[in-house]
């Protein structure tokens, strides 16, 4: 590039340079909350063209950026001030780390000269977040800003994605300098599979009598859904999915057995326990998926396909590891024969045996049936975001998905409070989608302040709140594993949630009778703008099946052993 004294960059503040570097990296929308040390950046935001969404808590901003990153596959950006602003971001950063979500986090920091003096709102956010970031930076020199921002985006989005933190001391953000920009970095060449491994995988699949594939979240992350479906069409191997792999196969696909694991479908769990070859694609043998690891898929050889070499044989030894981008690996495995029809028929038999039933006698509204009805009523292009608890598992079991990005759930970290901010991030990223946040009465209170964000920006998010007046999943575990000794799980003094929504300027409606469900779903999906449907359900309803901790996946409980109905 030719330079001359005439083209010397203009004198600009560190914050202006930062904002321009974000724009040059394709950022259009960011989520954040201002405060003392980040004020120079907020000053530079005005008139920058970047759209900033003021969330009402930094955790909301980080979780919104997480969902934005999931659905766009580009780093979601969140921003906060030093001290409490930064620590409030931490849960969102950990959430993105555990679920491999691309995210760039910018935190204000006290001026360099004050760092290490316990200055007002000083906290070592770089140190605090070391174990939960893919990488992190403290910017010491204005001249480094463009390069560090470029690297941060490249790292956050490349390979196995993750959060990258940039800590920005106030003297750097407020300082002035003449700094040249460098072009954003392209991703390094994608990691190609080893040809010999692909041939071995084809051989193993061809020889196997009872092969099975686990579809993981990595397939959505790497945008390999179509390649994966082609692979399954070619081979005819039955498929199960992890929580984050839901939607990789269409829920209605005949060869798809449902989710495996603790609250998985019996068909999936029986297939895993009986298969002789298990091909795990973009998944990491999480304990909620495997049950008792030592007895997981006991007679299976393992093919593990993942981009991250550090996941290979971390928990279960892989007989064959293919460390690669998923698409070229899946395309490169050329099998000759289709799966043994006897095994396929056995899987179909399990699928029939363990298909969900909706006719159990229940008091009031049965949440699984309501979620199935919601799923059936959905318009084209609907994203469901979840909080964490019983409702999250019911969504995973009873809603249908055509694409993994239609289901956003906090998988690894299990963050109560994810659902509402995630819905905000998902709607901002894809305004053409209908976005429904399915939440519980425990979870919604973790980030209920974000109702104000919906109102402020007229973000059309539909909230389906399943209220069992309890911390339901904890209550269920206390019932089953702690002898019905209920400890701090009853929430029978919940507020009037529809009234709370209305106080924030959001439409709210409450139902409690089964005959109201159909009309209420219609109201929720077709209401003009954001709306909250509050659904009262039986506080003693449980999620079934359940693989007890320390048990293998085929030892599923289907009901409470000796039910203690201690409620009034």
């Amino acid at each position: 590039m030719k330079t001359s004294t005439l083209s010397l960059p203009a004198q600009r503040s560190g914050s202006q340079i930062l904002i321009e570097a974000l724009v040059r990296n394709g950022v259009k929308q960011i989520f954040g909350y201002p405060g003392g040390t980040i004020m120079p950046v907020y000053d530079a935001l005005v008139g920058s063209g970047l759209k900033h969404y003021l969330c009402r808590h930094e955790q909301g901003a980080a979780l919104a950026a997480d969902a934005y990153g999931r659905v766009t596959r580009r780093a979601g950006v969140c921003i906060g001030t030093s001290g409490p602003g930064a620590t409030n971001l931490v849960t969102g950063i950990a959430n993105a780390f555990m679920d491999s979500v691309p995210m760039v986090i910018i935190t204000g920091q006290v001026p360099s000269a004050l760092q290490g003096t316990d200055a007002f709102q000083e906290v070592d956010i770089f140190g605090i977040t070391l174990p939960i970031v893919k990488h992190s930076y403290i910017i010491r020199d204005i001249a480094d800003i463009p390069q560090i921002v470029n690297e941060a985006f490249q790292l956050a989005q490349g390979g196995r994605p993750g959060p990258v933190l940039i800590d920005l001391p106030k003297d750097v953000s407020a300082g002035m300098g003449r700094v040249a920009y460098s072009a954003p970095l392209s991703q390094p060449k994608i990691q190609q599979p080893d040809q010999r491994s692909l041939r071995l995988a084809a051989e193993m699949l061809t020889r196997s009598r009872r092969p099975l594939v686990i579809a993981g979240g990595g397939i959505a992350i790497s945008d390999s859904v179509e390649v994966f479906r082609r692979f399954i069409d070619r081979t005819g191997v039955p498929v199960t999915a992890t929580l984050k792999g839901l939607g990789v196969m269409r829920t209605e696909d005949p060869g798809y057995l449902g989710m495996l694991g603790m609250h998985g479908n019996g068909a999936a769990n029986h297939a895993v326990q009986n298969c002789d070859l298990l091909m795990v694609v973009g998944a990491r043998f999480d304990d909620r998926a495997t049950g008792l690891l030592a007895q997981f898929a006991p007679s299976a050889r393992i093919i593990h396909v993942d981009i991250d070499a550090a996941e290979i044989s971390k928990l279960r030894k892989a007989d064959l590891a293919i460390v690669s981008e998923l698409a070229p690996a899946l395309d490169g495995i050329r099998t000759v024969a289709k799966t043994n029809p006897g095994w396929s028929a056995q899987c179909t038999g399990w699928k029939k045996e363990f298909s969900w039933r909706y006719d159990a006698p229940v008091k009031g509204i049965y949440a699984p049936r309501l979620l199935r009805d919601l799923s059936r009523a959905r318009p084209e292009g609907m994203t469901i975001t979840c909080d964490v608890g019983q409702h999250q598992m019911w969504v995973a079991q009873h809603c249908s998905f055509n694409d993994p990005l239609e289901h956003l759930s906090s998988g690894g970290l299990g963050t109560m409070g994810y659902g509402l901010p995630a819905a905000i991030g998902a709607k901002v990223a894809r305004p053409e989608h209908t976005v429904v946040c399915v939440s519980g009465d425990g979870s919604i209170m973790m980030n209920i302040q974000e109702l104000a964000t919906l109102k402020r920006y007229s973000i059309d998010v539909k909230i389906l709140l399943l209220d069992n007046s309890a911390l339901g999943l904890v209550r269920q575990w206390q019932e089953i594993f702690f002898d019905g000794n209920y400890s701090e799980v009853h929430l029978d003094d919940n507020p009037d949630f529809a009234g709370v929504a209305r106080a924030f300027g959001i439409q709210g409606r409450s139902i409690r009778e089964p005959e109201e469900v159909s009309d209420a779903i219609d109201w929720l999906l077709n209401s003009d703008g954001a709306a909250l449907l509050h659904v009262s359900i039986d506080s003693m309803e449980n999620v079934w099946p359940l693989v007890p901790p320390g048990k293998p996946n085929h030892k599923m409980m289907r009901s409470s052993p000796a039910r203690k109905r201690s409620e009034s």
Binding site: F126, S136, I138, L155, A309, A310, S313, L315, P549, G550
Partner: protein, 93 residues
């Protein structure tokens, strides 16, 4: 099992503590550590660790770090297993 790790790292801020933090967090006891400067941009670090977990997994976890350039792993006294007080990897529920 005891291992010696020789790492080449960036000389950037936080690099050493990031690598050491990972080693402990992933279930390896730090027995000794020495860091020295290679040049203006890099350092080398020798770490001796003990764990019941496989050393090659730790090597791959360290290689994942952006500011770790190279990791060499050497098992020390193979076959001699010592109780470490750390949870075995399959115990997490």
């Amino acid at each position: 099992m005891n291992y010696t790790l020789n790492l080449k790292l960036s000389a950037g801020e936080g690099t050493v503590i990031r690598a050491l933090g990972l080693i402990e967090r992933r279930g390896f006891r730090l027995d000794s550590c020495s860091v020295s400067e290679v040049d203006a941009g890099s350092r080398c670090m020798q770490v001796k660790v003990t764990s019941s977990r496989p050393g090659d997994l730790l090597k791959r976890q360290l290689e994942r770090l952006h500011d770790v350039y190279h990791v060499e792993l050497r098992p020390v006294s193979p076959g001699k297993s010592q109780p470490t007080g750390l949870h075995p990897i399959s115990r997490r529920i």
